[in-house]
Amino acid sequence: MTALLEIEDVHKAFGGLQALAGASLAVEEGAIAGLIGPNGSGKTTLFNVVTGYERPDRGVVRLQGESIAGLSPDRVFARGLGRTFQLSRIFGRLTVLENMLVATQRRQTWLRGVLRHAGSAAERARALELLEFVGIAELAALPAGNLSYGQRKLLELAYVLVADPDVLLLDEPAGGVNPTLVNQIADRIRELNRSGKTFLVVEHDLGFVMDLCVPVTVLDQGMALCTGMPEEVRRDPAVLDAYLGGADEDEVEGAAEAVR
């Protein structure tokens, strides 16, 4: 059975720095997969490669069996793969609603309707629906630049949903956000998952990941260390080693005890 998103043996180097050294990962349809790893392990680079912002030097990326490695980001999006950024990127000078209207529908041909008034009634209705879903509908007419950090994260989540993607790559959706909002975001993800969307979530907040994601993959120095249920991964000595760095067996045991 082929997974929905398959990443095989991806390599990516920037000058002398090998960011990804044979990273492999498979995300099954309907899963909320987690991706964790210490800083510099290559998580964002992996996202960039999958979503077309970087070209892999080597390796395969397949979405629903079809290769997407090297496609430009707009084509990747058109194939049904949406992505958020670590530091939320929104269109500051446009209103929140206009931000929603930028995302293009998947089957839309470009030339037709390019000069038509931006945002048909149906598109606006859907946009408001999604804004409602993430809870910022009342901010629809504000310039997006006025939004708080947490609100921007919600906006970004909302607008990647506009084209109804099958897979969502979320880069630190809970980063720097207050605990109530974190739970809200987790709930939304679960709800979307129930309606059939697959997720791959990068997060530093281990509690968030352990709670939400199954399975969890650990990335270290550009390679996947292990994949498994949150509990297994938590106990894996190689993982603790990667996070804590070069400790001997006893220390690792002790640290593992403390984490449990």
Binding site: T44, F47, N48, Y53, E54, P73, F85, Q86, R89
Partner: protein
């Protein structure tokens, strides 16, 4: 026939060195501040006029005028940065800098017209029209001295960048502004001084330019177009790139002038840029754009 070409190459290298100096200032300013100083061209002309005034009214030797003009233009650069560039917000900084520096360029041009009039002038000196005959090549003294001056100044610039603490701070700001700020580098002061330095070198270039070309206040436009072309070809922010690009462009232009005709050489100058950019959008040595954060 080949000696004609060889001579053209030599000419190109020599004048390329001088252009490199002026372009280095421009690319430095961009690299540190994300600012495109459109006024660089007219500032070269300003430097030329200052040298002209000093040499005509005080009888100073052309190279001696640099003692006055280089610091003078440094002050001009610092003043422009402090008065205008500093007020630019970070967003759209580059686009706004084009407009602001263009406005400054217009003002300087206007002042030059008022003070010196619109007629063409040229700097004169005992060695301007003479050449030294070496190995079958004619090396005009002025170009030779100008080239040596450029080498000296670029060397000083290099020393400043790599051997002093200020240079370290400058390079840090060049590589990553935010990181530099976080370390506590006074980015504002670095910017102001960099702008001053970037403009000061135009004084030297201006003197040589003025001695080898007839110029008037309008000459800045053609100059800035060439400097921009050189800087982009070499890669924005890369001083080494500006050096290579300047010499390369000038050699190509001079060779084409001999091989074809002087009228087409100007076209080739710009065509080279277009061709290079078609294949390498960030220039020869530019930092390739990283798309995502």
């Amino acid at each position: 026939m080949t000696s004609q070409y060889a001579q053209a190459v030599v000419d190109g290298v020599l004048s390329g060195g001088v252009y490199a100096l002026m372009a280095a200032g421009l690319t430095l300013i961009f690299g540190v501040m994300d600012v495109i100083n459109i006024a660089q061209g007219v500032m070269v002309v300003l430097g030329a006029y200052l040298s002209y005034a000093l040499s005509v009214h005080l009888g100073l030797d052309l190279f001696a005028t640099l003692v006055v003009t280089v610091p003078a233009l440094f002050v001009v650069g610092v003043a422009v940065e402090w008065l205008f560039m500093r007020r630019l917000a970070d967003r759209d900084r580059t686009a706004m800098s084009i407009l602001v520096t263009y406005a400054v360029a217009i003002i300087i041009e206007g002042i030059l017209i008022q003070v010196f009039g619109p007629d063409f002038v040229q700097l004169h000196g005992p060695y301007v029209d003479k050449s030294v005959h070496v190995l079958g090549f004619y090396l005009p003294y002025i170009y030779l001295y100008g080239f040596m001056l450029a080498v000296v100044l670029l060397g000083l610039l290099y020393a400043l960048l790599y051997l002093t603490r200020f240079g370290q701070a400058l390079r840090a700001s060049l590589q990553d502004r935010r990181a530099a700020e976080l370390i506590g580098i006074e980015v504002n002061r670095v910017r102001t001084l960099t702008f001053g330095i970037g403009v000061a070198v135009t004084a030297a270039g201006g003197m040589v330019f003025g001695a080898t070309n007839a110029f008037n206040p309008n000459s800045g436009y053609d100059l800035i177009s060439r400097l921009l072309t050189i800087v982009i070809l070499g890669g924005l922010g890369s001083i080494g790139g500006a050096l290579v690009a300047a010499v390369f462009m000038l050699v190509v232009e001079d060779v084409v002038a001999v091989a074809w005709s002087p009228t087409w050489s100007t076209l080739v100058f710009f065509a080279v840029l277009v061709i290079v950019l078609t294949f390498r959008p960030s220039g020869l040595f530019g930092r390739t754009a990283v798309r995502a954060q």
